[in-house]
Symmetry: C2
Subunit: 428 residues, 2 copies
């Protein structure tokens, strides 16, 4: 695809760089990678069937669409950290949005850069001469993703969120007056606009030559709230398609994937299928066992901290095998791994997970105790994620794959390979 845009006279650094033991060869054009939060394939399928994603449909026909496997647990921070580094959670250290910190014994959010153990693709790309623009819908991701970036210096990186766009400052975010730059007011976080603003900000950064290597990470508020066939969702994806079209017009190589899919977690009567695992374990095996819900984040309207993977920290001296077998026998539970097996099979950092890792099925979530989850915030239904059934997500590329990456795409490509596919994998 050729560009006839304002970005044309710019030179885009094609300097190869290496990070996390992987090589990246950026093309001589803008790069825009999107993480469409909570984008199960069905959102694209249904909106396309309605003829409301013409740009993405052309992208699939002329470029590539395939399925990639997200990192478990299928939560936002886990997969954004993986995408930003090109590495699995075992190497990023980010195993949830929230965890029991073994160093302090405290249950804390895992969204600050101090927890990230690997260098980001952005910091390496910046050193190789690319101008970085990171826009996240949710503020919670901004800090972590800007790890290692030089911000507030000439030619430095830009990183801000839709949620706090109006608070961005040159010295801390590499940009100010974001509302003027984007031409829109800071959106509410519980809105479609929170994601569309991030995309429009990306378009503005390219157009105004403020950045040429973009990571645009959206929010799944809409996917938590609406199934794919709802008019609200169709309109949201149509809006997304429009902005993707603008990125393509500006000559960007566009790659898109998701951090996780999304499933209704209810029975045919619409009631939430939830297992309060801490309550049940303590009832069956005595007190002292703790369940951590790593989906927990500040955005409680989305999911009430109910997801499809939890960590179990056992009371000292308990019989892990017996508890493990008992958990697996519960309705809705599909997999139970001990710490080492989970670390090996799910590529997780063993010291940042539970003694047991428990996964639920397509229509089930696992909670802690009834008191820990406020279902009244959910508006009578729950769509959520975290487990194996939200693992397979789309990968979209605006150009056809070259030979080597076509072969790679046929095996077990991952969502955190998206920068390699976008930089190295396409024919341009």
């Amino acid at each position: 695809m050729q560009s006839s845009s304002a970005a044309d006279p710019v030179n885009f650094s094609t300097t190869t760089f290496e990070v996390g033991g992987r090589e990246y060869r950026p093309p001589a054009s803008p790069v825009a990678v999107l993480c469409i939060d909570g984008c199960g394939c069905e959102y694209l399928d249904i909106t396309m069937a309605h003829g409301r994603m013409p740009n993405v449909m052309a992208m699939v026909a002329n470029g590539y669409r395939g399925l990639v496997r997200a990192a478990l647990p299928t939560f936002t921070n886990v997969n954004n950290a993986a995408i930003a580094t090109g590495l699995p959670p075992s190497e990023t250290g980010i195993s949830g949005n929230f965890f029991l910190n073994p160093e302090t014994g405290e249950e804390v959010m895992m969204n600050s850069k101090e927890f990230l153990r690997a260098d980001t693709i952005f910091s390496a790309a910046a050193k190789a001469g690319r101008k970085i623009g990171i826009v996240t819908a949710k503020e919670k991701l901004r800090d972590m993703l800007s790890a290692g970036l030089e911000i507030g210096v000439p030619g430095g990186a830009i990183a801000f969120s839709s949620e706090k766009a109006d608070q961005a400052q040159s010295v801390t975010h590499g940009i100010e007056n974001v509302e003027t730059v984007v031409g829109e007011k800071t959106p509410k976080i519980y809105s479609a606009e929170a994601s569309l603003f991030a995309l429009r900000a990306g378009v503005a950064l390219l157009q105004q030559q403020k950045a040429d290597f973009l990571y645009l990470s959206l929010t799944d508020y809409m996917q938590h709230k609406y199934p794919p066939e709802a008019e609200e969702s169709l309109a949201f994806y149509e809006g997304m398609d429009h902005e993707i079209g603008r990125l393509l017009e500006l000559g960007a190589v566009v790659g898109a994937t998701a951090d996780h899919g999304m499933n209704a977690k209810c029975n045919a009567d619409g009631a939430v299928n939830v297992l309060y695992l801490e309550t049940e374990i303590n009832k069956a095996f005595g007190t002292g066992h703790r369940v951590i819900c790593p989906i927990t984040d500040p955005y409680v309207v989305h999911h009430g901290a109910l997801g499809s993977l939890v960590m179990v920290h056992l009371a000292p001296g308990s019989d892990a095998d017996a508890i493990s077998r008992w958990i697996l026998a519960q309705d809705g539970v599909t997999e139970v791994f001990d710490r080492n097996t989970a670390a090996n099979k799910c590529e997780l950092p063993p010291e940042r997970i539970g003694d047991l890792v428990v996964l639920a099925g397509r229509d089930y979530v696992i909670g802690r105790t009834p008191g820990d989850h406020d279902l009244s915030q959910l508006g009578g239904m729950l769509r959520s994620h975290g487990g194996r059934y939200e693992e397979m997500v789309p990968m979209l590329l605006s150009e056809p794959l070259n030979h080597a990456y076509y072969a790679k795409a046929a095996g077990d490509p991952r969502n955190f390979d998206i920068f390699q596919f976008t930089c190295n994998g396409v024919q341009r």
Copy 2:
């Protein structure tokens, strides 16, 4: 959708019937349910993006598309038996294409009606006054699916395969001169035509008022052989779309699903990722352990009997827990269940599975011993199925869902609910 076809003057029985404890309320129009063998969602997605499935795209926009969960193991006989009865394998008794028969100690195909333990929807629909037409691409399914049907009597059912279309006789198949009826020669089984012939036969049966309640079950030869973006696959799905358009023109309520998805089972170099489990267990734990590959069927060109779920029959006196843990630690293995857990979690008949049930990941297959699998038949690559990663498949309906079934579709609908969705679930 209104019909202006030759089928109009006919009365279609709307008599409610019950089978397998479930009620079916057929509409006053032809019913056509398709099992698109091996149809992972990506086959529809990519072909639609190329604009080559206009009828199905309109069906999605005006009707319904969603994801349904297939029965494990994700093999053809298992899921065709489930779809034909509306019941999981625990009730159909069909746990594979092939199994170790505990009554005889022999390893045998599981494709004859003697193994099916549940009544079919077809036999119940026939008793309720519908004229049944079953067309399977593969001969192996015909016998099992025609269990309980009156064939060769006036008003009796029709059941034949593409593979042996030219051998159909009135007394045994309820039809003769199939090539004349369909207007085509019997296709080769290893071809796109084997499936397209089954669809065209369905069209012919409706057009000629020989049947009004169709089950058309295709073959996955093309999906085993080609990824979705291959021109051969695009042309195949385009051909399918054409026939689906004809079924719609004839006024049929059309429902479609798949028996399983399909994944490339290779690494980025294109080499098959295979674990020869019997060889490895016997090496590690001594001889006498047997691995059964329930994908095994007469169509070896498809997959060389390599799939992503196997049954392990342990030697007497062996330590099942230790072997189980050892298997789970092997590369490519994702889940290991003992017999009872597998029966409970995967809805399997315990006496027709192994002491252990072992599942492999998206890009892995499990075999028996190298000598049991002829990889030379595969043409240098392997696309296969059988495990968890081929479990989620599309469900397509030509009409919008009614309120009750819309709610059902949001939970954990199954591919074997397809006749209920098509009969009871649509607004017509």
